[in-house]
């Protein structure tokens, strides 16, 4: 019977080409957008390699300072981090690094603008990049303020083309950096860690001498385990209290948040101080996903009703020859499931193609996007649910049609 259903489902889909196109477009587009959006989110929010140290990393990204007439919300300065965060004892280790800034360099008599990041040696310990060539700079190079650099393979290709960059110099207005290591650009999965060239933070002329509490530095704090997060957060609050005490007179509010990558993103979206930001964030995400899928489902219900009404004669014939209402509902469900699965397959192929184009284009500088199979399957499941819902309601209504009326409906 199933074979017969599939056969007729395909026939009907081929016969009603416009309906099939609209339905498939709705399903494919919905799945495509969801897959791509979620791929982006997963990419931004989760560590590159499961089980990597980033699983137990906390980020300090924003400081809020309020004085009599001032209110500043900014990244902290190196000075602030060094004075108040470095003395913390509960973390295993921590790394400070600047936001990337632009600098000019020259290659083959052409000026190039590249993104430069100042960081310490611990940065490399926490992020555990595989080095294509050379090695990261270590504690000695940082303390000596050596003009050395780690670059990405894309930067290497742009400046040195096919030759090995190790030992060669990259000219910048602030000095010539000797390349000592190359990492793969697509391994950079965190927006905060993105740059084209990484140099020791001690080579930064201005940043280390700024003694105001805000500037453009990030703290990447590594816990010994996730269970240490509460203790680290507590110690972090005590560090802020100390800072507030020291800055009394200038600022009477010194606040900041420390959290996982997801916490940081949800704080940006929902503001600081939300109690359960992660739960809120995911609730909003799921809500948006459902909302996004409801509209095509309603559209499908309407399309299905008109499609099934056209087939009332067939319903009458099947009833006359012994089909029960439930059997007919089953038939229309199979048809909808087939339609949804075809849409799903198209969406999967399209999403893979689009994501691979986005990855290859380098449009999103730290991006390596792939179709997340779990997410895709969940989206497909939700689509199937709506597909069933949109098929069952009209099918149930039509299956209850009086056989005599159904036969009169349309001449077969």
């Amino acid at each position: 019977m199933l074979k017969n259903y599939i056969k007729i489902a395909l026939k009907v889909l081929m016969r009603r080409k416009f309906f099939t196109f609209v339905s498939l477009f709705g399903i494919t587009f919905t799945l495509l957008v969801l897959t791509i959006v979620i791929s982006g989110l997963v990419h931004t929010m989760s560590p590159a390699r499961p089980g990597s140290k980033l699983d137990r990393a906390l980020f300090f990204e924003r400081i809020l300072l309020e004085g009599e007439n001032t209110a500043i919300s900014s990244l902290p300065s190196y000075h602030f981090l060094d004075s108040y965060i470095r003395p913390m004892t509960t973390p295993e280790t921590m790394s400070f690094h600047s936001s990337y800034g632009q600098t000019d360099t020259y290659a083959n008599n052409k000026k190039l603008t590249i993104n430069i990041k100042y960081c310490d040696n611990v940065f490399w310990d926490i992020l555990e990049f595989d080095f294509l060539e050379g090695r990261p700079f270590g504690a000695a190079e940082v303390s000596n303020a050596d003009y050395v650099a780690v670059i990405t393979d894309r930067t290497s290709e742009k400046i040195f083309e096919d030759s090995s960059p190790i030992g060669k110099y990259i000219e910048t207005p602030s000095g010539n950096f000797r390349v000592m290591g190359v990492i793969r650009a697509e391994d950079i999965t965190l927006q905060q860690s993105y740059a084209d060239i990484y140099v020791p933070l001690t080579t930064s002329t201005g940043a280390l001498t700024i003694d105001r509490p805000f500037s453009n530095y990030h703290a990447l704090i590594l816990a010994r385990g996730k269970s240490d997060f509460p203790a680290i957060k507590e110690e972090f609050l005590r560090a802020l209290d100390r800072a507030k005490e020291d800055m009394k007179g200038e600022f009477n509010v010194v606040e900041g948040t420390i959290g996982t990558q997801t916490d940081v993103i949800s704080t940006y979206m929902f503001g600081e101080g939300s109690e359960d930001e992660r739960a809120k964030f995911f609730a909003a995400l799921v809500g948006l996903m459902i909302l996004f899928m409801i509209f095509p489902a309603i559209n499908l219900v309407n399309l299905n009703i008109s499609r099934i009404i056209e087939r009332s004669s067939e319903i009458g014939i099947r009833k006359a020859f012994g089909a029960s209402s439930m059997t007919l509902v089953g038939q229309f469900i199979v048809e909808n499931v087939i339609l949804t699965l075809i849409g799903g397959a198209i969406a999967f192929v399209l999403a893979s193609i689009i994501l691979s184009i986005v990855t290859d284009s380098g449009l999103i500088p730290f991006g390596k996007f792939t179709v997340n199979l779990t997410v895709f399957l969940y989206s497909l499941l939700i689509c199937l649910f709506f597909g069933l819902l949109s098929g069952v309601l009209p099918a149930w209504k039509m299956s209850r049609l009086h056989p005599v009326d159904a036969l009169k409906g349309v001449e077969a």
Binding site: G322, A323, S324, H402, A412
Partner: protein, 221 residues
């Protein structure tokens, strides 16, 4: 075999009440070949639909093979139709998206029957109506007479005890009508299938053993 007692059928809308059948008492024996005649709107198709369990009477009892069929629930009625009754309609009512063979197999889909067995039975039914060379054609590729023969094959494939034919030759020319009628008469004679046929055609009706005449919903004789 089929017993209708004091059957009445009233169609009601918000404003109008139409009496389609009034006090019908009919007894049809097993293996009978019977025709129902009457002018348009006299209630012939309504009577056939009630016998075929496609419609329910407003009053009265319908018994088929000793069973009070109106007491059956929808699912049991569907099963009963599937196993006991075959329908032939004036406008064939074939499913255009299915091939001739798939159309004929249709009643067997709703009972326990393997795919190979379905195919075997459908081919045998098509053989009986002389259409076994057209199994892969679609209804739109066939003439009216051929379509009706497919419809007859579909009606007999499940080996029903009763065939209800609603003006089976209404859309056909006289030569084709004779051919369809002879198929039905052979079925009645050889398979002992009870056949109730609605027709306007006096000549065809005369070939049946018994004629029931209806006028304005009432039995005339």
């Amino acid at each position: 075999m089929i017993q209708l007692t004091n059957v009445e059928k009233v169609y009601r809308t918000n404003t109008v009440e139409t009496l389609a059948l009034k006090d019908i008492n009919i007894s049809i024996d097993e293996g009978a070949l019977m025709s129902v005649m009457g002018p348009s709107g006299s209630g012939k198709s309504t009577l056939l639909n009630i016998i075929g369990l496609l419609d329910a009477p407003s009053k009265g009892d319908v018994e088929i093979e000793g069973q009070a069929v109106m007491k059956l629930d929808n699912r049991a009625m569907a099963r009963f139709r599937n196993s006991k009754i075959g329908f032939i309609f004036q406008s064939y009512h074939l499913i255009n998206d299915l091939t001739v063979l798939d159309n004929v197999e249709l009643p067997l889909l709703y009972r326990r029957c393997s795919a190979s067995n379905r195919r075997k039975k459908a081919l045998a039914a098509l053989d009986k109506v002389g259409l076994n060379a057209r199994t892969k054609h679609f209804p739109t590729q066939l003439s009216g007479g051929q379509c009706q023969r497919v419809a007859i094959a579909r009606a007999i494939v499940g080996e029903p005890d009763i065939i209800l034919a609603d003006e089976p030759t209404g859309n056909l020319d006289s030569a084709m009508s004779d051919e369809i009628m002879s198929i039905l008469m052979n079925l009645n004679k050889n398979e002992k299938t009870t056949i109730v046929m609605v027709t306007h055609n006096h000549e065809l009706a005369r070939k049946t053993e018994k004629i029931i005449r209806l006028h304005d919903g009432s039995q005339v004789d």
